[in-house]
Each structure stands twice: as structure tokens, then as C-alpha cells.
């Protein structure tokens, strides 16, 4: 039971604030105490809310025609739950506080419960439409939380326009002693729920030197991410794994701690820091999940040196299997699809697609490549450089010339940032446009993606979860004049620099993965098979 009474009093609170001000890392006990205090404060607040809500809500509920008297008793107790939805207390609490109905009604109660839940759902929808109700009504499905105590939440990085969430994030970062990065510039209203940072203000400027909380290789990695020095899904994951290897090498288990638990806790602030520098990609998320699982599976009797070498070999094997060997397998399948005389269109710079084309050229397939590029990143130039170096004949166009060049094209090869569970392909912005126009011209579209980039997320549009890059990148200086120099002064002007977009599966003909060639709709099957293996 969490109700163990008041903590040891105000004395410990002073200790905690003192150590925070000194910049030391909070000890484990202090962190636990902080957590407990906060939980109890929230519980008290919620109990107060409930009492006031039950008095408020009783009047509108009595107007509803009650089929059974038990149902009305249940409804008001279900209603306070939407008001307290953002508070992470198991929602079974409201049920306990409701008046206990007669034991004779017990079998009938289950039907009444369902009816009450249904009505509660209707009430929350109605309440959410009314002004003055908390915006949390939209976020979490309350009736669901009554059925299972785990409340599912939206991730914090897509709720930037909600001040409660931002405050929570700030508190979490404060606890982990990581500076909070502030947003920059005016955000277009459709994307105001996402972060928008400036490249001129990297997070590392706000860190004290030397930083005792964050490992230096992680600081370097964060800077490389935020400045765009390391870019591209595979490159970022590999860099992350190498940085973690360094962290593990430098790690020593503190006394009275277990490596398997302490190392995972050590990694959490690093991950928050990297997230602040640049939002994590799906591939990085999967890599982190894997590492955490490996660490927590280390048996407790394992010696520290042995455990460390084991972890290092695990990481090496992950990189080797999921990235390097997967690329070889994918090229093997993809080369079957490249025939002599082909004209292949590629977009931007995907390490995997470049690998495939170089391998096909080595196997003396005769084809030529059209590289499509787009501002402001102009990544296609890098791809062009790599291909021309190998001797492949290339053409270079900007994306505005796409419908002009497509009648010549026989196949389109695209890379992917992630493959979502409903078959949508998340990739660099502009990819869905290419897939759409290619479909109109009846040109087959092939997406190449390793299986470690498959993620369980579901998205049907590019708005709900995306990344906003520095809007200053859109400014361009020609003939000494920069047109958008003072864009911040124009109040009605917003610059939007999107990074990703999603392509629906009907535009994609084939996905080439290391498991073979599958249609886009079979991604959930692969995820299911992989989960069975694990």
C-alpha cells in the first residue's frame, strides 16, 4: 500500500534542495523520497477534487433517466475520473470511494457497470465539448482506464502546446539535472504541438563544464546530432551504440548496487539529454530497448569485467547483424529486381539504397540513376557524389522536376526512416510525393528497410508526430540579398521546415527487408514473428 503515512518531515526536503543547489547528483534515497512526496501530494489533491466533483456532478446526472438505481450511483463516481485523468493514479480508486451497493444486486451489477461505463464515456465526450473542461478529456480514454489500471499516454514530444505536459517534462529533466531546451521562433499552428529548436543554440551551451552528470562521449554525440554532423537513420544508431559502448567501458558499479539495475538508471538521463538535442528516431529507440533488455538480463552473480565484455560483444553483434549483414541480404534481394537497361530513381541520400546501387554496379548490371533532391537539406548531392565516384552514370534534378522526368523512369528505390505497424512508411519529407507521382505513372516503387527499423507505432498522417527543423535553414542568400532575413518581425509569417512524412502502403509496391521481399501490408506480420522469436 502506498499509503504509509507522512514522510519523515520537512527536514529531508531541505537536504534535497541543498544537494540540488550544489549541483551534485542526487543519491538514490533522496530521489525516492522526492518521488514519494510528490505521489502523496497528488493523491491528496485528487481526493479533494473528487469530493468537489461528486457534489458538482450529482445535479446533471440526476436529470438522466436511470434504468437502474445502481447505475446512477456508479456514474458520478466514474465522472471524477476524467477530471483527474492527467494524474497517474490507478483509476480503480474512484470505485473504492463510491457508496457500496447492496450485495443482492451483485450479478445485475456487472451489466449495470457496463452501462454506467458507457454512459460515463458519453458524459466525458459531452463534457469535453463543453468549454471550461480540462483538455485532458481528449488525451486519455477514461473508460478504458477503468477496465485496466494502466493509463496509456501520448508521448511528451507531441504535446508541446499543453503547459501541464511541458511543466512535467521540465520537472523530470530537473530531477535528472539536464538543461531544458527552449523553443525558437513562431510555429505554424498545425505543428504547434511539436518542438522547434534553433541550431545556433545547442543544448551543450547550457551545460556546465566539466559536466558530472553526463558522460563526455554522450555530450559529443548530442552536439553532433543537434548540429547535423551525424545524420541519417543508420549513422545515428551506429553512433549511439558506439557512444554507449564507451559509457559501458568507463562504468564502475557503485558499492551495494547491482550492475543490471544501476546501469539502466545511469542511461536514462543520457537518453533524455539526447532526446533534447534531437528527437530520437525509431531505429535508435529499438536499439535502446535492446540494450536495456541485455543489461537487465545480466545475472547478478556475474563479475563486473565479465558483464562489461558481454555487453560490449552484444552491442557489436547487434550492429553486425542488424545493420551490416542486413544491408548485404537486402542488396542480394534488390539486385534481382534490377535488370539491364533500367532507369532507377532515388531520392535524397539513403545509405542502404546507395549500397544496393553500388553492389549492383559491381555485379555489372547496366543501369543509370536519376537522383532527385530537395531543399533545404540538399542531401541528394552527397548521394550523387558517392554514385559518380563509383562510375555510375547519374542525372540530378530537383523535386519540382519530378513529373517531367518520371516517364523515363523504370523503377523507384526509396529508403525509409521507419516502417509503422499499419504499413505506412515514414521517411524524409518528399518521399510520399515521389511515391504518389510514381504511382500515377505506373512506375513500381520499392522501399528498402532493415527489420530493426520496424516500429509498433501507428500513424496515418504526417501531422501527429513529426520533427521540426531550424526554420532559419529556409533562408537563402542570392546575389547578396537574403529575402527572409527578418521573418521573425513579420507577425503573420511562419517558416516550416518539416523533416519527415508518411507514405501510405497503397503507393508502395514492394518492401525489401533482410527477411525477404514482402508487401507493405505485411509489416505487422513481421513484427508478430519477431516478437514470437523473442
Amino acid at each position: 500500500m502506498a499509503d504509509c503515512g507522512e514522510p519523515d518531515g520537512p527536514g529531508n526536503k531541505d537536504d534535497i534542495t541543498r544537494s540540488k543547489n550544489e549541483g551534485k547528483e542526487l543519491s538514490k534515497e533522496e530521489k525516492q523520497r522526492l518521488r514519494k512526496q510528490k505521489k502523496q501530494q497528488k493523491k491528496q489533491k485528487e481526493r479533494k477534487n473528487e469530493k468537489s466533483e461528486t457534489e458538482k456532478e450529482k445535479t446533471p446526472v440526476s436529470l438522466l433517466p436511470p434504468p437502474r438505481p445502481v447505475a446512477t450511483q456508479k456514474a458520478p463516481s466514474a465522472l471524477p475520473a476524467p477530471a483527474s485523468a492527467p494524474i497517474p493514479v490507478p483509476a480503480s480508486a474512484p470505485f473504492h470511494s463510491s457508496p457500496a451497493p447492496s450485495p443482492a444486486d451483485k450479478p445485475a451489477k456487472s451489466k449495470a457497470e457496463l452501462k454506467a461505463e458507457r454512459r460515463a464515456r458519453q458524459e466525458t465526450d459531452r463534457a469535453a465539448k463543453q468549454p471550461g473542461s480540462s483538455s485532458s478529456g481528449i488525451k486519455t480514454k477514461v473508460p478504458l482506464s477503468e477496465l485496466n489500471p494502466v493509463v496509456k499516454r501520448l508521448p511528451e514530444h507531441v504535446q508541446v502546446d499543453d503547459p501541464a505536459v511541458v511543466k512535467r517534462l521540465a520537472k523530470k529533466l530537473e530531477r535528472q539535472q539536464i538543461p531544458l531546451r527552449s523553443d525558437y521562433g513562431y510555429k505554424v499552428s498545425l505543428f504547434s504541438h511539436l518542438h522547434q529548436y534553433s541550431r545556433k543554440a545547442p543544448l551543450t551551451q547550457q551545460l556546465s563544464i566539466p559536466s558530472t552528470v553526463i558522460h563526455p562521449s554522450i555530450v559529443r554525440l548530442g552536439l553532433q546530432y543537434s548540429q547535423g554532423i551525424v545524420a541519417g537513420s543508420n549513422a545515428r544508431s551506429v553512433a549511439l551504440l558506439h557512444a554507449f559502448k564507451q559509457v559501458i567501458r568507463d562504468y564502475t558499479t557503485p558499492p551495494n548496487e547491482e550492475l543490471s539495475r544501476d546501469l539502466v538508471n545511469k542511461l536514462k538521463p543520457y537518453i533524455s539529454f539526447l532526446n533534447q538535442c534531437r528527437p530520437l528516431s525509431a531505429s535508435m529507440g529499438n536499439a535502446i530497448k535492446y540494450i536495456k533488455k541485455e543489461i537487465s538480463n545480466i545475472p547478478s552473480q556475474c563479475k563486473e569485467e565479465e558483464a562489461k565484455t558481454k555487453l560490449l560483444t552484444c552491442i557489436d553483434r547487434y550492429i553486425e547483424e542488424k545493420i551490416v549483414l542486413a544491408a548485404k541480404a537486402i542488396s542480394k534481394y534488390a539486385i534481382e529486381k534490377i535488370s539491364d537497361g533500367d532507369v532507377i530513381l532515388v531520392y535524397g541520400c539513403s545509405s542502404l539504397v546507395n549500397n544496393i546501387l553500388c553492389e549492383a554496379f559491381e555485379k555489372s548490371r547496366k543501369f543509370r540513376v536519376i537522383v532527385v533532391d530537395s531543399r533545404p537539406r540538399l542531401e541528394g548531392r552527397e548521394a550523387l557524389r558517392r554514385l559518380v565516384q563509383r562510375g555510375i552514370s547519374c542525372t540530378y534534378v530537383l523535386i519540382s522536376a519530378l513529373s517531367y522526368i518520371l516517364p523515363e523512369v523504370s523503377k523507384v528505390f526509396l529508403g525509409a526512416h521507419a516502417l509503422l505497424a499499419n504499413g505506412y512508411v515514414m521517411s524524409r519529407v518528399g518521399t510520399s510525393q515521389i511515391a504518389l507521382v510514381a504511382r500515377t505513372f505506373n512506375v513500381p516503387v520499392l522501399v528498402c528497410c532493415e527489420t530493426y527499423k520496424f516500429c509498433e507505432k501507428v500513424q496515418t498522417d504526417s501531422f501527429v508526430s513529426n520533427e521540426l527543423d531550424d526554420p532559419d535553414d529556409l533562408m537563402v542568400t542570392r546575389k547578396g540579398k537574403t529575402q527572409l532575413e527578418n521573418w521573425q518581425d513579420v507577425s503573420s509569417l511562419g517558416l516550416l521546415n518539416l523533416v519527415y512524412d508518411v507514405t501510405p502502403p497503397d503507393f508502395v509496391d514492394l518492401v525489401i527487408t533482410d527477411l525477404g521481399m514482402i508487401p507493405c501490408t505485411s509489416v505487422p506480420v513481421v513484427l508478430r514473428v519477431k516478437n514470437l522469436d523473442q
Partner: protein, 303 residues
């Protein structure tokens, strides 16, 4: 010497029972080979021999079904190699499993017919293409269920297989009309549904079938008529064509043509590829599937 025996056995199988699917005949041949094979010393050697036999059978009959049936048989029995280290015992288990597999797939045609004939309503007008034994079985069971329907069959040149189908249907007392391949667009507004067989079902959920099927599918999509495919599960093959040209040459032409003719560009292909977007449902012995579910089944079968 062995190759001659194999192809002769295969051909006698096909001749003895014209109703048997070519894949089943191929699998019977492979099973015979397995029983008679004395030279295999290792499991790998045995696999090699079987793969060679399949290739020789493909030379005898180049349809997709033979290659898919052979590959499935190989997969079905080779999983035993992990369990029994002793070769002779392994062989015995392989033969047993092969017989079991054969028995299962011989019943598949009737399973498909049972699933599909409920989709034929009384008074329906059905359009079908060329001669398919599975479609014949479906129509037979629908007629046995006392349903009244009329059938239009395309003539299906260059071998006029449609006419043979029309004769068989007439023997079952089903009213049938033969139409020209070119008249498919003309007749489409009269029909209620289109049912075709398949020589192979590919990973994307599309089918490989007699030339003219793709045209039929495009017309039925334009008229919003349902396009049903009936196929047994051993016809699922690990191909993924992107368009018509992407289908391998060894399936496009008859086996004799492949051997005799030098320049295949002069020859007319015997099959075409119908993409999954034009297919409404596939009836197989694994159940009624949508085209996207085919990949799911294939992953289960092969991975």
C-alpha cells in the same frame, strides 16, 4: 538415366489421371524418387538430388505449379533433418511425411470447392477464363447444390482451351456460352461475377494465370464486378513480380518452346501476371483470403 525415369514417371502420372494437378503429379514423382533412391549418403546429398529432380521436372512441364509444389515438398520434408541424425530413419520419416502431405493436398480441391460455391447465388451469370479444373469443380458443386446459373467462357487462344471447358460444362448440364477473348469488355456488363483459376499465387497476392486473365481483371475492376480466384495452397510461390516483364522467362513459355527456340522475343507468352489490387478474394484450402493475407500465409509456410 535417372532423369529419363523421372520425366517418364511424371508423364505417366499425368496421363493416367488427367484430373490430377500437375503439382501433385510432381510431388508423387519426387516421393517415388525418394523411395527408390539408394545413392544418397548424406542429407545434403539427398537435398541436392531432389533439387536436381525438380529442375528436370520443370523441363518437362514448365508451369509455375510444378516449381511451387516441388519447393513446398522440399520444405515440408527437410524439416525432419533436424530431428533424426540417422539417415535411413530420416528417410523413412521423410517418406511418411511425404505421403501425408500428398494425402492432404489431394483433398485441397474439394475443400476449395466447398468454400467457394456458396458465393454463387441462384440466377448468377459467371464469367471464367480458359480451362481450369478447380473452377470446374466449384461449378460442379454449385450445380449439385441445385443452383441455377449460366457460364460464359472465353475461348482463350492460342490453344482454344476454353472450348474444352465448355464441353465439360455441357456434360454437367450447365448452360454455357463461348465468347471471344476480345469480347470480354462487351460481355462484362451482363455478368455478375468472375471466377478464374490460377497457375501460381505470388507473394504480393497477385496471380499468374493463362494469358488474358489480366485483361479480364482490368475490365471487371472497371465495371466493379467481383473478381474471385480459386487456387490450392501448394500453388503459392516465392516470386514477387513488379509488372508483366518481371515474371521469369522460364514460366512464360511452354517447356518445349524454351528448349527449341533461340530468340524468345518472337514467341508469344502463355501466361500473364494479375496484380493484387484487381483481385477481390482468393479461395484456397487455407480459407478465404484477401490478397494481402496471402503474404501472411506464405510467411507462415516458408519461414
Amino acid at each position: 538415366l535417372e532423369s529419363l525415369i523421372c520425366s517418364k514417371y511424371f508423364r505417366t502420372q499425368v496421363r493416367q489421371d488427367p484430373e490430377v494437378p500437375s503439382a501433385v503429379a510432381a510431388i508423387r514423382t519426387l516421393l517415388e524418387f525418394l523411395k527408390r533412391d539408394q545413392t544418397g549418403e548424406t542429407i545434403l546429398g539427398l537435398r541436392e538430388n531432389l533439387t536436381q529432380t525438380i529442375r528436370r521436372l520443370e523441363e518437362a512441364d514448365s508451369s509455375v505449379a510444378v516449381s511451387s509444389g516441388g519447393e513446398l515438398f522440399l520444405r515440408f520434408i527437410s524439416l525432419t533433418s533436424l530431428e533424426h541424425p540417422d539417415l535411413s530413419q530420416c528417410k523413412k520419416v521423410m517418406v511418411e511425411r511425404g505421403e501425408l502431405f500428398l494425402k492432404k493436398i489431394s483433398l485441397s480441391r474439394s475443400k476449395v470447392a466447398k468454400l467457394c460455391h456458396t458465393f454463387i447465388k441462384d440466377g448468377a451469370k459467371i464469367l471464367t477464363h480458359s480451362s481450369s479444373r478447380v473452377v470446374l469443380k466449384v461449378l460442379e458443386s454449385a450445380a449439385a447444390d441445385k443452383k441455377r446459373f449460366t457460364v460464359y467462357v472465353t475461348e482463350s487462344q492460342p490453344d482454344s482451351a476454353g472450348r474444352q471447358m465448355a464441353d465439360k460444362l455441357q456434360n454437367l448440364n450447365i448452360p454455357v456460352t463461348v465468347v471471344l477473348d476480345a469480347a470480354v469488355g462487351y460481355i462484362m456488363e451482363k455478368v455478375d461475377l468472375v471466377i478464374v483459376g490460377a497457375e501460381g499465387v505470388v507473394e504480393s497476392g497477385g496471380i499468374i494465370n493463362k494469358i488474358g486473365t489480366y485483361q479480364l481483371a482490368v475490365c471487371s475492376k472497371a465495371h466493379n464486378k467481383p473478381f474471385y480466384v480459386v487456387a490450392e495452397s501448394f500453388k503459392f510461390v516465392r516470386l514477387y513480380p513488379l509488372n508483366q516483364q518481371d515474371v521469369p522467362e522460364r514460366f512464360k513459355y511452354k517447356a518445349d518452346t524454351l528448349k527449341a527456340v533461340e530468340d524468345l522475343a518472337e514467341e508469344h507468352p502463355m501466361i500473364d501476371y494479375t496484380p493484387p489490387s484487381l483481385i477481390t478474394l482468393l479461395f484456397t484450402d487455407l480459407g478465404v483470403l484477401t490478397p494481402s493475407a496471402v503474404s501472411d500465409e506464405l510467411i507462415k509456410l516458408y519461414l
